[in-house]
Amino acid sequence: MKRLAIVGMPNTGKSTFFNRLTGSSSRVGNWPGVTVDLLGARVVLGSDAVEVIDLPGIYDLHGFSDDEQVVRSFLENNSVDLVGVILNATQLDHQLPMALQICQLGMNSVILINMIDEAEQLGVRIDAQALSKEIKCPVVLLSARNGTGFHEARDVLATAVHNSEPLSLDRLRSSLHVDDELVEHAGHLVSRHVRAPGKLVRKVTERIDNVLLHPVLGLPLFFLTMFLVFQAVYTFGAPLQDAVAFILGSFRDWALVPLAGVLPPTLYGFLVEGLYDGIGTVASFVPVIILFFFFMAIVEDSGYLARAAFLTDALMARMGLDGRGFVMLLMGFGCNVPALMGTRVMRSRSMRLLSMLVIPFSLCAARLQVFIFITTALFTPQQAPLILFFLYLASFSAAFLTAAVFSRRLKSDEPFVLELPPYRQPILKQVLLRGWHEISHFLRRASTFIITGVVLVWVLTHFPAGSTPGGSGTYASILGQWMLPVLEPIGISPDMSVILLFGFVAKEIVIGALVAMTGLEGGALTGYLATQMDSIQAISFMLFVLLYVPCLSTLATQLNESRSWKFAGISLGWSLGLAWLVSFCFYQTARLLGY
């Protein structure tokens, strides 16, 4: 198996090219020496089976950021037969030095000058043949967006990878070079082989920016955009969720129950009441997550994300975060996990850690489901939206408070510099692929948690054998009794405290756990909930659920991304403490006031 690594700066269309080359066969995986997940795929190029890896976008091979270290250690620890260097044709003066860096390391490389369609529109002409001859490396002009030159690029890569030998890793490790000469060299190359107008004017982008980055209108437009994205996700998402629930319910009633009926009661309960209902709960999230990333990918690919960072940076700088942190915080309202992974765009570790402490307070879709369920069950249709609004407010406040508390400790002197790409029309296939990657990641991650979580609930609520399901005497109620001294002052009943235990695994299973524990559904479950808590207890419970702990996956991601048990531990301790304190203050104050 040959190996081809795709390298390039951010905003070069690297992912577009990677996706065109690999189709939907790519998946996230681990590689030696690299502590983050990378996207890889196996494809056939010419006569060879080739593993293609999409490395993170970097500005410089020798840089100090996490991404740059990831790329370096990937190249140092994995034998790479060929490097495909993606450059943005409209910025060759800026980008060529990195290509020269890679060539100079002695790596077999092919230079893929992308976005040739945009460059031509702007009047940039590139003499690829002459450039190729001078730097002794194949150069291909292409547009990964519309496919121009793609087949040629594929063929050139196939030939190059066929004839290449992996570079000795020792030699690679020892050959680093000073940049200034390369920059000068690149300057000469560009002046000889690239003809461009003195100033690249992007009239459309400038006109849009005049409106979207307007000193007064910019921020309202940003919040309007975010509002519309969320409206779209949940307006389209709700009926789809209902459809999924209907299909799963029908399958259960028509096929599963009659078929599994022949099994012994314990096994039947495990299969139908535990496993299947849990899976059903997860499945109902699939539409919302797909829609969320569909729209988020549009926001990102269009170039608006960088504008959002520009607009919100003034506010975020005060809290020790940067504008990208705010965008990730907003992303976190869909799901904390991708938002945490998204903090990789931040080059400074301390700022990244701070953002990763803050993001788990974003009221994610999973928690929203719990809150919608509880507010619908226990409050009037007039009250419910107000309660939800209050919870969102609490979510933002907790995030800002956390940032304020930790910003002194996690101070950064990293420069905030971000490229502002021109506006581009998002490509449907890209947007869909993004959604696909996210959902497959979610399902792989969630399914394990759901199965573990729901089976655990089922065991805890149905054993020791002979006890009433969910009733006293089960392991669940014993656990609930243990936690009573801590949870009573915040108004949480022992039964509900068992639910908190499972909310720790994943918020997605909270409702499923309730169903499994009580054996009730629909109206009966709502009625049961009303016996467990009044409205003040319900709000206290929801505040606690909002803050007490990110789900196990979030915690795992924090651990993964920070590579620090200490950090994950601090985050866990802080959120548990904050949750208890907030719920305590709320509950006791409300009771004191006589509610």
């Binding site: 690249l200 960072a309 520009f310 003034a314 002197d413 971000l418 490229e419």
Partner: protein
């Protein structure tokens, strides 16, 4: 060459540079103004990063827009960057 204002966004001195307010740097430019970059100042990591993003001596920088409290948008050749004023203050210029 003169010493340059170096501060992070909280206004503290960074990496031994003192804050001086009378030095011409990129953050002093207004909307639509251009200048030649003469140097980038800060720790190795910071300098490296700013240079890799196109802020190199000899390049011409143009201020496209500045928000009152937030970052500035700078154009260097074909690259558009947004950066905070305190980071722009690391870039010395001659007009």
């Amino acid at each position: 060459m003169r010493t340059i204002i170096i501060n992070n966004c909280t206004g503290d001195p960074v990496n031994g540079y003192k804050i001086l307010n009378n030095i011409v740097n990129l953050s002093n430019l207004g909307r639509g103004e251009t200048a030649m970059i003469t140097g980038v100042h800060g720790s190795d990591g910071i300098r490296h990063r700013l240079q890799a993003m196109g802020l190199r001596s000899g390049r011409e920088a143009e201020v496209i827009r500045c928000s009152r409290l937030g970052p500035m948008q700078i154009r260097i050749g074909s690259v558009n960057l947004i950066m905070r004023r305190c980071d722009a203050a690391r870039v010395s210029i001659s007009t």
